[in-house]
């Protein structure tokens, strides 16, 4: 992999601002890299080459005219294909939406990133309708893990994690309903930010379950995720869940450190079902942050059950009219899930929403005494593609159900979470840094601190060797 492929967004912007090359050349090299590496990764579903070239020309003209450049000037990025891109159908990983009219307007986060002079280079593969954790897709094939092409990228934002971890782009947009940013970030070894529910507008993205749908970001460093997060913030009235909060930029705060922050490890539910690599990652992070306190979030198994039922009911309702006519055109794994979900009694999601209020109150009470909680992101490193069960303590566990074990209860109540990769073995694995609502800044500062201590870093894959082995 070339050195440029591993440059951060901030390094790319600084180089451009300093006059080292121009945006047009950078875009051509990015497009070449995608053409070379993506056939093995299957991260992209479309490449917006003409659009990227036009944006690069505009940025180069701005620079030549002496105008100031945006905070993401010249930074290539790509988006999970549930985000609207003007001129393309919004697939959301599906076949049934491939024949629908193209989007007339970009998703608002794309507009904001491009207004900051970032360059959209394409759309990314995902699990159909964002409804599973492996990154598989029966229509477009699985996105693959750059660290071992036979392994899962994780889902549902598998293409986002694969493209960032593989050095195809330094930045990607993704979404997370139950873990769809955090699971692939962990398996591919990148930084993922799922902000507080209601922080970033979802306008122009296809829903899975609106009660829990979040949009967020992936990059290879906390600094890059934070740069993009600052640009992405701000209310948009077309997303009814988006809160009218002031923009709270974090980039300038990253170096403040975490002195005085009360950080605890999550015990109970969050240490059951862990594989060795996840235990090692948590131990390493606990040592780096000198964490001595453990807290238990009560009834977390029920929280996950409640999240499952609400997600099922809301997703089934969105797809009900299509399931009647075109169920055959769905990914079989998603179709069976949605058909079953369409049949669950209405009392289930209502009961689950009542439990959600109770669980939120319990967790917010715990956050009176702690500022952040460290939890596993996934129970294990990336399983092999197609692997249906893993053996844990002698017992087989379902891969599909187990991967979201530790993420789903946290998005259930909308807490902000940053996942950072912790190098403890040949394959990446991440941990979650969980903060109280609206405290993304602390979660990001802790992530940054872990990178400074060397406890967290995005591992560089040997893509050349991996590709030649295909």
């Amino acid at each position: 992999m070339s050195d440029e492929a591993w440059l951060s967004a901030s390094e790319l912007r600084e180089a451009l601002a300093a006059g080292c090359g121009n945006a047009s050349e950078l875009v051509e090299r990015t497009l070449c890299r995608i053409a070379e590496l993506d056939p093995a990764l299957n991260a992209f579903t479309s490449v917006t080459a003409d659009r990227a070239r036009r944006q690069a020309v505009a940025i180069d003209a701005k620079r030549k005219a002496g105008q100031s450049l945006g905070p993401l000037a010249g930074v290539p990025f790509a988006v999970k294909n549930l985000f609207d891109v003007a001129g393309l159908p919004t697939l959301a990983g599906s076949k049934v939406k491939a024949t629908e009219p193209a989007a007339a307007r970009d998703a608002i986060l794309i507009e904001r990133l491009e207004a900051a002079d970032a360059i959209l280079v394409g759309t990314l593969n995902m699990s159909e309708f964002a409804y599973e954790f492996t990154g598989d897709n029966s229509h477009y094939g699985p996105s693959r893990n750059p660290h071992d092409l036979d392994r899962m990228s994780g889902g549902s934002s598998g293409g986002s994690a694969s493209a960032v971890a593989g050095g195809l782009v330094p930045l990607a947009l993704a979404s997370d309903t139950s873990g769809s940013i955090r699971v692939p970030a962990s398996l591919c070894g990148v930084v993922g930010l799922k902000p507080t529910y209601g922080r970033l507008p979802r306008s122009g993205s296809f829903p899975l379950a609106p009660s829990f749908d979040h949009v967020g970001l992936m990059a290879r460093s906390t600094r890059d995720v934070t740069l993009a997060y600052d640009v992405a913030q701000g209310n948009d009235p077309s997303d009814p869940a988006c809160m009218r909060r002031p923009i709270e930029p974090v980039s300038g705060q990253l170096g403040r450190g975490i002195s005085g922050a009360r950080v605890a490890m999550a015990g109970g539910y969050f240490v059951e079902g862990l594989f060795e690599e996840a235990r090692l990652a948590l131990e390493r992070v606990g040592r780096a942050l000198n964490v001595t306190q453990e807290i238990v979030l009560p009834e977390t198994e029920r929280a996950r059950a409640a999240a499952f039922l609400i997600t099922a009911a809301e997703a089934a309702q969105i797809h009900f009219h299509r399931l009647r006519k075109r169920a055959r055109d769905y990914d079989p794994a998603i179709r069976d899930r949605l058909l079953a979900a369409a049949m669950i009694p209405a009392a289930f999601p209502t009961m689950a929403q009542r439990f959600r209020g109770w669980y939120r109150a319990q967790v917010l009470e715990i956050f009176r005494d702690v500022d952040a909680v460290i939890a596993p992101a996934t129970p294990c490193a990336a399983p092999l593609i197609g692997e249906e069960s893993l053996i844990l303590d002698g017992t087989p566990v379902s891969v599909r159900r187990h991967l979201g074990l530790y993420t789903q209860p946290l998005s259930f109540i909308g807490l902000p979470v940053v996942v950072v990769p912790v190098p403890v073995g040949p394959l990446p694995i991440g941990i979650q840094i969980v903060a109280r609502p609206w405290n993304e800044d602390l979660a990001l500062r802790i992530a940054h601190r872990l990178e400074e201590t060397g406890a967290a870093s995005a591992p560089k894959p040997q893509m050349g060797r991996a590709v030649s082995n295909q």
């Binding site: 009235p237 029920r302 069976d336 079953a340 049949m343 209502t350 009961m351 689950a352 929403q353 009542r354």
Partner: protein, 78 residues
């Protein structure tokens, strides 16, 4: 129809909802539905107060700026 209540439920619900379930899909649908019922049992066994409100709140006029969360935010901003 079969004697198994879950199979009977799938058949009846599919007919009432106008959903066609191919024979090849039945097992997958059945397993997913069984999971949902098991999880609902787990949830139903928790002693929630009769006064526990569902988490989402309806705002009759989101543009007015008078909903509770906006008031709280405004207060925080001083």
């Amino acid at each position: 129809m079969t004697d198994d209540p879950l199979d009977a439920y799938v058949d009846a619900a599919a007919r009432m909802l106008g959903l066609a379930i191919d024979e090849d899909w039945r097992q997958g649908v059945r397993e997913n539905l069984a999971t949902a019922f098991n999880l609902a049992d787990l949830l139903a066994s928790f002693p929630l107060s009769d006064h526990a409100e569902p988490a989402p709140r309806y705002d009759p006029d989101p543009a007015s700026g008078t909903s509770a969360h906006i008031d709280v935010d405004a207060a925080r901003q001083g």
